[in-house]
Amino acid sequence: MLRIPCPHCGPRDEAEFSYRGDATVTRPGPEDGIEAFHGYLYERRNPRGWQVEWWQHGAGCRAFLKVLRHTVTHEIRAVATATEALEVPEA
């Protein structure tokens, strides 16, 4: 069971949230071409380790949050709001 410390609502059960993808991906500009959009939409880093990802707190504040989570241990190290910076640690 994941427990996600929501910055607005406090620690909550994973069942209140929906995973919404890798938060380090940014949408290409309109003139960046098909390869940039293909990479954006389909190709994945899919790390075995730390990942910054979007989770939406649908059953709480409804905000999109950035969560730093480890994809093997499931440890959640940090949670931030959508506009705050959250870096993936080295190794």
């Binding site: 994941l2 994973e14 389909y42």
Partner: protein, 417 residues
Amino acid sequence: MPRYSGFRILAEGLRGNSGWQPAWRKPAPKSSYDVVVVGGGGHGLATAFYLAEVHGIRNVAVLEKGPIGHGNTGRNTTIVRSNYLLPENNNFYEHSLKLWEGLEQSLGYNVMMSQRGVINLFHNDAQRNAALRRGNSMRLNGIDAEILDRDGVKAMCPLVDLDNGRYPVMGGLLQRRGGTARHDAVAWGFAHAADARGVDIIEHCEVTGMIVEGGAIQGVRTTRGEIRAPKVGLAVAGHTSTLTDMAGFRVPIETHLLQAFVSEGLKPLIDCVVTFGAGHFYISQSDKGGLVFGGGLDGYPSYGQRGTLPEAEHVYAAGISMIPALGRLRGLRSWAGVMDMTPDGSPYICKTPVRGLYMTAGWCYGGFKATPGSGWCHAWTIAKDEPHRLNAAHTLDRFREGRMLDERGNGPFFWAQ
């Protein structure tokens, strides 16, 4: 090499079972091979078997980081079927099902293939129409499909709650040739048969790097030394992107958890495979007596091989909605596999941007039933350096080209397939 037969069992029984030999050798890796297959699960072993059997390529190594068959091959719900909508998929899976039907004779090994029938229940008009469309698509491609009404469902699986207050059952789509097989025996059978044809199965040998020179694969670095090969095939399920990172390119794969469950052992209760239409749930009964069932993904990427409780609760709830009698049972074990999920729910059996590097990956929920077909098509692609017509559409480039194989029409959400 040992051969397995009823006579042999009788003879060994009289001799105190002293004559059995290991089913495959434990060779040390050589410094080079014609083909290296990474991944000693069902798909990798099947690739090696068909390379040797169909294409005469016997100087092959299968590299496995642990013991064989300890990944998803030993972690699935053992269901075999070919009830897909899109011709590219149902033709491929039907080829795989035909290989299953003759697999025990091909391998000389009992994989306990049991064509006990697979029923997908439907609960409303729209689901019935979708089931009819899928069944018709199957029949147009020469695959067996039948529509059952309520009485037909009741006759095949009397425990299903037809009059569920929220989701009454209208009927089901039945594929009688679908069923189950013994998952471990599939890995052992392919390992035994590939080994007997000269393939080296090298366990406890983890790939740590890919040797790529001038855009072409030259071999792999492993925990047991460097192994050179002009052709390398990947069959590593959820860890595909870990290996393609080493080779220098990204793939449309996310790694997700899928849980499965088994109950305490029971007398015969469910003699077919049944799937629920109003929640993600599927169930069958193993020959040992345990009910084997599973549901959907946990919903977030993970390499953890263990799931969490919200999905377990959903699976149990959906099961009890479909078959209320399950409410009295105790769960025995649960586990999770790491799935290689793709944006359209369909797999890749293809060449890659690196010359000489091939892959069978992106199996989502459907890897076990595809085992022989995946190995057969992967072996063909490796041997001929071009895809067979059955896997010509299952490329990495299909999204760039707008040729998605979107079986369910979910859009590019890996975790929603």
